[in-house]
């Protein structure tokens, strides 16, 4: 496999509405920033990968209209759409295209403009014979799984609230984060409006308009353009059976993420992820999910996730800072969210994460997650 590394990242300002920009213009804001960060021009891009949940904005084949924003006109371009994992899968696709030797530099950009669509389109177009008349959307699906997870692992609302607070306090040091709530307290989370038992408003991710881009380069170009590239050391993708009810105790078991994590750890020679990883950017659409992912990712034994957050292990000054960016809980343009995880992990390796930099980060994990329990994992490092 040819070596490849991330040499630049770029994000838009994320917000509830970005009415000021069209979809192509929003994408361009992130792409321009990524090219500037990488120190390259548009002519250096050999191919483009776009990630997006097309029906959220009512679009079909959105790259046809939006591609011009991604410098894709006259270039090879394809779109990855795998639900919540679209962004991370887009990054892995870009990595495979560079590692193939076909392209030297691939630009990957993910975007979503939730404000332009109908928030519940996703639910309106589920399986018409099974889910459509009796579905409760992503929120309800999470809440159902959480009710099981709490019983299975003894996780408490207070522990989930700590996750929610950690995310927003971290986000306060990230100028790109959508939610800015530096003074948030656990009590505020516990007092926030109940949406779907046990999930409260501040346990949940926002819906954001935004885009995020990364530049992936082959070894020779990576060394030419970047002092400290973020080398892609391992990737894995796992999909699951198609119905929510197919997976027994979904959050508790999270077989896909466990398997993906095992795969990338083995490939990168990681035996104890808590000790050997320096930072993790994981896709946690709801506070409780982060606790479940700690277990699935092997940061702790099953049943120990609550203790991990209580002991501050995953705080910025803890043994393994998780989501220094503020995570999906602070910023969630779905098609971009996975790219943001990878971009943030890469920025940590490149030493470009600004006020939320984890000092001396050498090995980083980024993950993606979709509602049907699909999972992606990627390990980035300072050396190939």
């Amino acid at each position: 496999m040819n070596r490849a590394a991330i040499i630049g990242t770029g994000q838009t300002r994320h917000a509830r509405r970005r009415d000021d920009l069209s979809q192509p213009e929003l994408v361009r804001e992130a792409c321009t920033a990524a090219l500037a960060d990488a120190g390259i021009g548009q002519k250096d891009i050999d191919a483009v990968v776009i990630a997006n949940m097309e029906l959220f904005e009512g679009r079909a084949l959105p790259e046809l209209w939006v591609g011009e924003g991604a410098f894709a006109t006259g270039k090879p371009c394809m779109k990855i759409a795998t639900g919540g994992t679209s962004g991370t899968s887009g990054c892995i696709a870009g990595f495979h295209q560079v590692a193939s030797g076909l392209f030297d530099i691939v630009l990957v950009v993910g975007f979503e403009k939730h404000s332009e669509g109908h928030t519940q389109t996703g639910m309106a177009l589920t399986d018409p014979f099974w889910d459509r008349t009796v579905a409760s959307g992503a929120l309800g699906n999470f809440a159902l799984s959480i009710s099981q997870y709490m019983v299975d692992r003894g996780v408490t609302e207070e522990q989930a609230a700590k996750v929610a607070v950690k995310a927003r306090r971290n986000a306060a040091r990230n100028p790109y984060a959508h939610l800015q709530m530096p003074d948030i307290t656990e009590q505020e989370v516990l007092d926030s409006k109940m949406l779907a038992h046990p999930v409260r408003m501040l346990d949940m991710c926002p819906q954001s308009d935004g885009a995020c881009a990364i530049v992936i380069a082959a070894e020779s170009k990576a060394k030419k353009y970047c002092d400290q590239p973020a080398w892609i050391r391992a990737t894995a993708t796992r999909h699951q059976q198609p119905y929510i009810g197919d997976i027994d105790h979904r959050l508790t078991s999270m077989e896909t993420l466990r398997s993906a994590a095992r795969s990338v750890y083995a490939a990168a020679g990681i035996r104890d992820p808590l000790k050997e990883l320096d930072v993790a950017e994981i896709y946690e659409p709801v506070s409780y999910a982060e606790l479940a992912w700690y277990e699935a990712l092997g940061f702790c034994e099953d049943g120990e996730a609550g203790r991990l957050i209580e002991d501050g292990v995953t705080e910025m000054d803890g043994e393994l800072p998780v989501n220094p960016s503020g995570g999906v809980l602070s910023t969630n343009p779905v098609g971009a969210s996975g790219v943001i995880r990878v971009a943030e992990a890469a920025s940590q390796i490149m030493g470009r994460a600004g006020e939320h930099q984890v000092q001396g980060a050498k090995t980083a994990l980024a993950t993606g997650y979709g509602v049907y329990a699909w999972a992606d994992a990627m390990i980035l490092g300072t050396a190939p």
Binding site: M1, N2, S22, V48, M53, E54, L55, F56, G58, R59, A60, L61, P62, E63, L64, W65, G67, E68, A72, T73, G74, K75, P76, C77, M78, K79, I80, A81, T82, G83, S89, I92, A93, F95, H96, Q97, A99, S100, G101, L102, T121, G122, M123, A124, L125, T126, D127, P128, T235, A236, T237, R238, H239, Q240, Q241, P242, E255, T256, G370, Y372
Partner: protein, 349 residues
């Protein structure tokens, strides 16, 4: 470029048929089983899957959720490309060249009988300047055809003859006169000039390790491209995007003279003028046989088309020892905005 080979190890196809009464899942299952059987393997031999589908055609959000089981993607890597299946095949070849996987299953599916295709495709058009005017893919095809016909008095007769020739000897056979007598759908295009929109699914096994000993064809070049969205920003009489895609593929395959390089071309052309655009952009010569089985003129499934052309090319090479090199093509978007090609070379005879 790495030198790792990628073989077209096997193919499975469902349709095209005007309206398949089965579910998408059932159609895809049959295509996938056909491809595995063609190679003589099971899902255990597949390392990863790349699917191609378009949500709005299937009326489903993240439409690949529905097919995860039947493509064998449970607890496996799946990438889903929302474009023509040829783009998915190119991505699968990249995965193999990268060394990430040895064997990748490519699957594409669509059921245009579910809803009016042209209405759905308006949602692919720029929603500020074009969609509100009612511009769809057919509008763009008509504008492109007229730009070609305007300075070419013989164009319509020639196109009718071409569409007739493609269907000759098939159940859809029709004379050029009948084609010219059929109603206008987007002037100068007439109903019987257009590839009929039909349901289908296609599955192809790409592999670095399977197929070599059976003399299966090898992928030696790939290329794809995205042209400007608005037809007003393109030269309407030239497929520049396909030129770029082909030149990339020729560069990978080391082909200097496409005019004499190919025994067979299997383009994804929905109208006769598109075949003329294809021949010009690809730079193929008279010695290249184009669409011997009629191509999409005997049945066109959007999304599946490019993969079906790849399968047709591979099948021709397996049956005819004289067919040594082929160019397979897929396209998507208004008037061929997205273009993708793959070059196949026959295995050891």
């Amino acid at each position: 470029m790495t030198q790792r080979p990628v073989f077209i190890a096997g193919c499975g196809q469902v349709g095209p048929v005007a309206e398949d009464p089965r579910s998408i899942v059932e159609m895809v299952l049959e295509a996938v089983e056909g491809a595995l059987e063609d190679v003589g393997i099971t899902h255990q031999d597949i390392d990863a899957i790349v699917t191609a589908s378009v949500d709005i055609l299937d009326g489903l959000t993240a439409s690949n959720i529905a097919v995860t089981e039947v493509v064998g993607a449970v607890m496996k890597p799946e990438a889903r490309i929302a474009a023509d299946g040829m783009a998915a095949a190119i991505h699968g070849a990249c995965q193999i060249w990268s060394g990430a996987y040895d064997t990748v299953l490519i699957v594409a599916h669509a059921k245009p009988s579910m809803a009016p295709y042209q209405d759905l495709m308006q949602w692919a058009m720029d929603p500020i300047y074009l969609q509100p005017l009612g511009v769809d893919f057919l509008t763009c095809a008509g504008l492109q055809a007229q730009a070609l016909a305007a300075g070419d008095a013989g164009a319509e007769q020639r196109w009718a003859e071409l569409a007739s020739a493609r269907r000759a000897g098939t159940p859809a056979a029709i004379s050029a006169d009948e084609i010219l007598a059929s109603p206008i759908v987007a002037s100068p295009l007439r109903a019987e000039m257009c590839a009929p929109m039909e349901d289908g699914a296609s599955a192809i096994v790409l592999s670095a390790v399977l197929g070599k000993h059976d003399g299966r064809p090898q992928v030696t070049g790939v290329g794809h491209d995205l042209a400007p969205h608005d037809l007003g920003d393109r030269e309407p009489g030239i497929w520049r995007g396909l030129e770029r895609a082909c030149n990339r593929a020729y560069s990978v395959a080391g082909i200097d003279n496409p005019a004499s390089a190919f025994d067979l071309a299997e383009p994804s052309c929905l109208f006769p003028h598109e075949e003329e655009l294809f021949v010009a952009a690809a730079g193929i010569g008279n010695a290249t046989v184009v669409s011997p089985g009629g191509g999409l003129f005997v049945g066109h499934t959007p999304v599946v088309a490019g993969l079906s052309r790849l399968a047709a090319s591979a099948s021709a090479m397996r049956q005819d020892a004289g067919c040594r090199r082929a160019l397979a093509h897929g396209a998507w978007g208004p008037a061929g905005q997205g273009q993708a090609v793959m070059i196949l070379e026959a295995g050891a005879p």
